[in-house]
Symmetry: C2
Subunit: 168 residues, 2 copies
């Protein structure tokens, strides 16, 4: 068994990709939908819980960018900054769900305002930290992200999603 | 905070899709790679931990097939049998990872033999249970699955992955 015995303030699911495309604005009467795209890199699905604070963000950023969650061409495990690869951050409130009977409930999720603030901070601090790694910033790799509160219409192409869960 | 205070014997991540394609045999000198495909439905990434037993399987199957993890055309939350939609089961040992420093460790994962047995039982019991739902079995929906131990090369098309985590 894996013993888990602590409060969780944020939950992150990570998948590696060779290409991913995310809708950041749905189409309307006047214009087409808008999308962002990444090439090889990491998709970061994130959900904040009630009680999570901005003090948490540096720890999340450090884990996302430094833990060896990616696989190099030679099969070696490396961090996304070492790969170096793109990063796509996707807000994913459903990750906070808990089943009760046949229903999923989201009572532990952070409120919209708090969630949006933390999400913005996560993106800003990821960008800053990524740019401080010359190996990443000089590679032409990019950080992109979804629109908080939107439906996250996503297309994902992988060479093995290599799915990980991190909780903070 | 979401308080989590129990042992985990299996971890499942669920994503909804409109189409998914999974490699079940890589190419070799003599033949092309083999793939399975699903249309609209649910991708089930699963990882078993040490100490998990076959007694667990009915509970997992019941949750996967009865909890309202999907979204109907009208936006209503429904189970995969009510949708009705395809199911793609993907073994995903990386889900058992825990970060220690910069490395991911998989010490809690079930051994290969045990994992393979539980994976086979999960598929068999899912198939049996799905077929017992007339709404599902008469819809032409399908259950497909990846090859245990392989690299799970996956392509995923979603209208919002609607990612959920379930632990057992």
């Amino acid at each position: 068994m894996a013993t888990i015995d602590r409060d969780v303030a944020a939950r992150v699911v990570l998948q590696q990709c060779v290409h991913a495309k995310l809708q950041v604005r749905p189409h309307d009467e006047n214009s087409h939908a808008e999308w962002v795209e990444i090439k090889r890199g990491m998709v970061v699905y994130v959900c904040f819980f009630k009680g999570s604070t901005k003090d948490l963000i540096p720890k999340i950023v450090s884990s996302l960018l430094n833990v060896k969650l990616s696989e190099s061409d030679s099969g070696k495990h490396v961090s996304i900054t070492e790969l170096p690869g793109d990063v796509l951050i996707v807000p994913q409130a459903t990750l906070g769900g808990r089943s009760k009977g046949r229903c999923m409930q989201y009572h532990s999720n952070a409120g919209k305002e708090q969630g949006m603030e933390l999400y913005g901070l996560l993106i800003a601090q990821c960008q800053k930290e990524l740019e401080s790694h010359p190996q990443w910033s000089e590679s032409g790799a990019a950080l992109l992200y979804g629109t908080y509160g939107n439906r996250q219409v996503l297309k994902l192409d992988t060479n093995g999603p290599y799915t990980h869960l991190l909780e903070f």
